[in-house]
């Protein structure tokens, strides 16, 4: 697959907030160091204004931008861009190591739909993953928006998309001792919010998906519907509750977890590319 497992490992087992990003104008790979410097200055300026809330005013925040090749899907996809903010204590600069306080990753896995008709000056990296304090995300986002004339939007995941994810991921081959497939539903219109969690043994879920899927490697909406209907009727038979009338808010499998607020956690390195491809597609749909 080409992705350096060491470098891509930081993407795993971490909760990422998702954003869709419109194409960046005049983004140049050769100027990453310069961008890092400018971004660092913007953060320092914001802290001076007292906007960034961080414990310990004796820490300096430094920014670093780097290219992360190997995550692309097609040849046309640009390499991912990694942004990291690290803090170093001013009081003991020699003793302490840099601690990464915030990470962001722009990536594009099979983004041909968006990049096809773009003029030369634009770089297409529609999926943005952020991990760390929200204040830093908004400072970095504002800087990118100002500098490259792009626009960030929180990427929400609809219940329909979540059903695709759980069907796809539950059907993946996993090792013994894999975690359960879990679906969390929120029941609407109650005076007090009620969440229902439905956990399925991963082998049972995979067995069910295998009976539903007709062509390996291909998934249709009908197959996802049948898979979900089986799960809903099983639950109704036992608990007399119609999950199909509730809102699916979170899905969790051994491959990855996804929440409708646009938060994902990727757990399995083998399927990293596949998950990013799905998320890229969602981001592109939101942009268009």
């Amino acid at each position: 697959e080409g992705v350096d497992p060491q470098r891509a490992a930081f993407l795993l087992r971490r909760g990422w907030s998702l954003y869709s990003v419109t194409p960046l104008f005049r983004f140049s790979r050769g100027r990453l160091r310069e961008y890092a410097r400018l971004l660092g200055a913007a953060i320092a300026a914001d802290r001076h204004k007292g906007l960034a809330v961080q414990v310990g005013v004796d820490t300096d925040i430094g920014a670093a931008l780097s290219s992360l090749p190997g995550l692309q899907g097609s040849e046309r996809d640009p390499a991912a861009v990694l942004v990291q903010l690290s803090s170093r204590s001013q009081a003991y600069p020699k003793n302490s190591e840099d601690k990464i306080v915030w990470s962001g990753c722009f990536c594009c896995v099979y983004g041909d739909d968006l990049s096809e008709n773009l003029p030369e000056d634009f770089t297409c990296l529609p999926l943005f993953l952020a991990n760390g304090a929200e204040t830093y995300t908004s400072i970095v986002g504002s800087w990118f928006q100002k500098t490259f004339d792009c626009s960030f939007r929180r990427l929400a995941i609809s219940p329909l998309s979540l059903t695709w994810m759980v069907a796809m991921w539950a059907g993946c081959k996993v090792d013994k001792g894999a975690s359960a497939v879990e679906l969390v539903f929120s029941v609407p219109r109650l005076s007090q919010p009620l969440d229902i969690s439905y956990a399925i043994h991963p082998e049972d879920a995979k067995a069910l998906w295998d009976t539903v899927q007709k062509t390996p490697g291909e998934i249709t909406q009908e197959e996802v519907d049948v898979f979900m209907d089986c799960l809903y009727s099983h639950f109704h038979r036992h608990f007399k509750i119609r999950l199909s009338a509730a809102k699916l808010v979170k899905v969790s499998t051994a491959i990855a977890q996804a929440h409708c607020d646009g938060i994902v956690k990727i757990l399995h390195s083998q399927y990293l590319s596949g998950v990013l491809m799905l998320l890229t597609e969602l981001a592109i749909t939101q942009i268009q």
Binding site: A156, S158, L160, P188, Q221, M228, S244, K247, L248, C260
Partner: protein
């Protein structure tokens, strides 16, 4: 008259006035509402499908809450030769406008608008939805 599903209870058959229009409401946030509508359709006399059945999809304002594939609903409309209307009931303006539209459609289906039949109007609605 509102009903959560069909068939209607037979006890009140003799008291019920003539039915001019059936609007099936599908909440895009609830997969169950689609299943319920699909099950209820089986209880509708075929003559209604000549312009006296409409599908009303609600909740379309919130894309992030979508639990039903819109294609499936459009295919349902095609399968039953009935127009599909989309609306968002939580917004008062759209709610009022939708109610006015349905009232107008009801007038046509009841034969109260001279020169326009339920069938011809239904065809017009479906054709404009395709464009």
């Amino acid at each position: 008259h509102l009903a959560t599903s069909l068939p209607l209870p037979s006890e009140r058959d003799h008291l019920r006035p003539r039915i001019d229009l059936i609007v099936f409401m599908i909440d895009i946030k609830s997969k169950y509402s689609l299943k319920n509508v699909e099950a209820s359709l089986a209880h509708v006399d075929p003559s209604f499908f000549l312009g006296k059945v409409y599908f009303l999809v609600t909740g379309v304002g919130r894309v992030n809450y979508c639990s039903i594939d819109t294609n499936a609903i459009c295919k349902l409309g095609e399968a039953y030769c009935s127009p599909v209307l989309f609306c968002e009931l939580e917004l008062e303006g759209i709610r009022v406008a939708t109610a006015q539209r349905l009232l107008r459609i009801l007038q046509i289906c009841a034969g109260l608008v001279p020169g326009v039949s339920a069938l011809s109007f239904g065809l017009l609605m479906r054709k404009s939805a395709d464009d």
